[in-house]
């Protein structure tokens, strides 16, 4: 199952992360301290969950621009349920339900009504943001947060791991089984590769696309739940910061490992989080983080594009000939 090429890519990835980590370590020795690594893993958990959900949508070759809005709605639903005195489990389920409810709207519109896949998520994003203003007319919600125990989601530890990271690992394992060890998962890839032939092979392509959007919406809400737990308040702009890192992680992972997959997304997230964490330690202001992420994203897409890398190869070959 593990081919030679995969091992080479894996080794290259580990070397790359090691080099990056080494560079930061020489600049600031605190980079490899236990506290910082824990902080890095926590940051990675929030970004990773959103990116994992997006992976499914990218695998079926659709785009989901709506999940930041849906995540904000999830955050506000969660906050409102907690503030109105609901038990934590109900509140979390309510938040996730918002994501599951909105995801399929995109999926049905895209798969069944054949609306352009870029437009509908934009519309539902606007709609979701609008609904998220309903609960408190735009102010952030933080009543009852201490009593409800949601902060434990961030602070507690399981088997020595921080709770958020444990949740990410659990989600990644489930995601891996679904996407890489089941017929269902093969169907996702087949739908993405060639929808017509997948359909004629008996794969329920429409259902899978709807499922991919639902998973994406749910994971975005799960990720925002962790973010709300760590910040202690829900607000209407909470989701906006998820969009760039999630796309960057999925595409960076796909560029490193040849195609989007659960493992590739985790690798991409790890790399993004390492870089962002390192730059934060070097006291680079927060507003540069998007510039860093987007530069890496553009570079990853451009460099790993088959035609660009092919161009490099021919150039290298020419050099060899002349030399």
């Amino acid at each position: 199952m593990i081919s030679g090429r995969l091992i080479i890519r894996l080794l290259a990835f580990i070397a790359l992360v090691a080099v990056i980590a080494g560079l930061f370590w020489t600049q600031n020795a605190a980079f490899l301290s236990e506290g910082n690594i824990r902080a890095l893993m926590r940051h990675m958990s929030v970004q990773g969950l959103a990116a994992l959900g997006l992976t499914f949508v990218i695998v079926v070759r659709q785009f989901d621009l709506s999940f930041p809005g849906v995540a904000s709605l999830g955050a506000m639903t969660l906050g409102w349920l907690i503030a109105s005195g609901m038990p934590l489990s109900v509140a979390v389920c309510g938040g996730l339900a918002a994501g599951i409810a909105f995801g399929p709207v995109n999926g049905v519109a895209g798969a069944r009504l054949a609306l352009p896949d870029i437009v509908t998520p934009l519309a539902t994003r606007g709609l979701a943001i609008g609904f998220s203003y309903f609960y408190s007319n735009g102010t952030s919600i933080s009543q009852n947060f201490f009593m409800s125990g949601i902060l434990d989601l961030n602070d507690r530890k399981i088997l020595g791991l921080d709770m958020p990271f444990a949740i990410l690992m659990a989600a990644a394992i489930v995601g891996f089984v679904v996407l890489h060890a089941s017929r269902f998962g093969r169907g996702f890839y087949a739908t993405g590769e060639n929808r017509t032939s997948a359909r004629f092979s008996g794969i329920p392509t429409r259902t899978l696309i709807v499922a991919a959007f639902a998973i994406c919406g749910m994971m975005a809400c799960l990720s925002i739940t962790l973010l709300v737990a760590s910040s202690g308040a829900a607000n209407v702009t909470a989701g906006n910061q998820l969009l760039m890192p999630a796309f960057a992680a999925v595409y960076l992972g796909a560029a490193l490992f040849g195609r989007p997959s659960v493992g590739a997304t985790l690798a991409g997230t790890l790399m993004m989080s390492t870089m962002l964490n390192g730059f934060t330690l070097l006291a680079i202001p927060y507003y540069y983080s998007d510039a860093i992420v987007s530069t890496v994203l553009i570079a990853a897409i451009a460099l790993f594009d088959p035609r660009v890398s092919g161009l490099f190869r021919t150039l290298v070959a020419k050099k060899d000939k002349t030399a």
């Binding site: 785009f63 009504l113 437009v119 606007g126 709609l127 998220s132 992420v293 553009i298």
Partner: protein, 334 residues
């Protein structure tokens, strides 16, 4: 069999709405705009006070300028989601340069240069290297937004004078600001280019079947290259005007224009030519959106209500396009 293939690729259906569609589908949107404006004027007479109309036309002109390039890109079947961040960047560059003592002329050139750079960057990556447009423009947009925030160290820059750009903005013919007339002329020229010249027909053809346009010998990549550069330039020009209009540089200005821009283009695509973004439609949709938000504010709607109305409008626009397409297809079959 035909049913399945048809339902799999409806976007490639040769829709001919302007032949099948009646007067209502063709001009329905314009009737809606007029109806909404009359309703607002009736409910709140201040809506048609000269000052209010002038203000609305001013913001509509700047927004329409920003969305001009986007209209053509979407009409060609591509996407650009970096336009609002490019506007924000040029806005901040102008503010930063003026604050540091350079004149407005230099600042304006600086802002436009930023638009040119990002236009070329998008064009090179999307049209030149044929990379996925959506992800690339998300990334370049984030890059522009980040640089914009960095110029003001994360906050806005307020300006004491608005220079010659400000005095141009202040010129007015009756209730119509001069800039509105200029943008109107620009849209008239764009309408002529898109509807009457071969270039415009190629734009429509690109959305329908790119492979066929390539086979016909049209330099598709060069066309897309031009469209992205144009989008960067008009967005940055709008950013320069906004610096004078707001007499400040706002790094997070982009977020409010993002949904408005795409809503205008797609809602406008519903007018005149079902499902095909065109400049007249965009102009009407911009005026509609600005009027709606302004009127809603006068009526005292809350933020959430206005947000939901905006999102629903986009959904309705898209839904109507699909409805019209499927009805036309049904007629074609019978």
């Amino acid at each position: 069999m035909t049913d399945i293939t048809a339902s799999l690729s409806p976007a490639r259906q040769p829709a001919k709405p302007h032949r099948h569609g009646g007067v209502f589908t063709r001009y329905g949107f314009f009737l809606l705009v007029i109806a909404v404006f009359i309703a607002f004027a009736w409910l709140r007479p201040t809506f048609i006070a000269p000052g209010n109309i002038h203000g609305m036309l001013m913001s509509a002109s700047i927004a329409a300028l920003m969305f001009l390039g986007l209209t053509w890109i979407v009409a060609a079947g591509e996407i650009d989601v970096s336009f609002m961040s490019v506007a924000a960047l040029s806005n901040m560059i102008v503010a930063g340069l003026v604050q540091s003592g350079s004149g407005w002329a230099l600042a304006t050139l600086g802002g436009l240069a930023a638009g040119l750079v990002f236009g070329l960057l998008n064009a090179g990556l999307v049209a030149g290297l044929r990379l996925p447009a959506l992800v690339i423009t998300i990334a370049t947009g984030a890059l522009a937004a980040s640089v914009a925030a960095a110029i003001g160290l994360g906050t806005s820059i307020s300006l004491s004078n608005t220079g010659f750009v400000g005095s141009i903005l202040n010129l007015r013919l009756g209730v119509v600001p001069l800039i509105g007339v200029i943008v109107g002329l620009l849209y008239a020229i764009s309408w002529f280019v898109q509807e009457k010249l071969t270039f415009g027909h190629y734009i429509y053809a690109l959305e329908q079947n790119r492979a066929a346009v390539v086979e016909a010998g049209v330099p598709v990549n060069r066309m897309l290259f031009m469209l992205y550069v144009l989008s960067g330039l008009v967005s940055s020009l709008a950013g320069v005007l906004l610096a004078a209009n707001l007499s400040s540089g706002q790094p997070y200005l982009g977020t409010s224009y993002f949904l408005d821009g795409l809503t205008s283009v797609l809602l406008g695509g519903m007018a005149l030519k079902l499902g095909k973004p065109n400049v007249l439609g965009t102009l009407a949709a911009v005026i509609f959106l600005i009027g709606l938000l302004n009127g809603a504010a006068l009526l005292g709607w809350t933020d959430s209500e206005r947000q939901i109305v905006r999102g629903s409008l986009l959904l309705i626009g898209v839904g109507l396009v699909v409805f019209a397409r499927s009805r036309n297809r049904g007629r074609a079959h019978t």
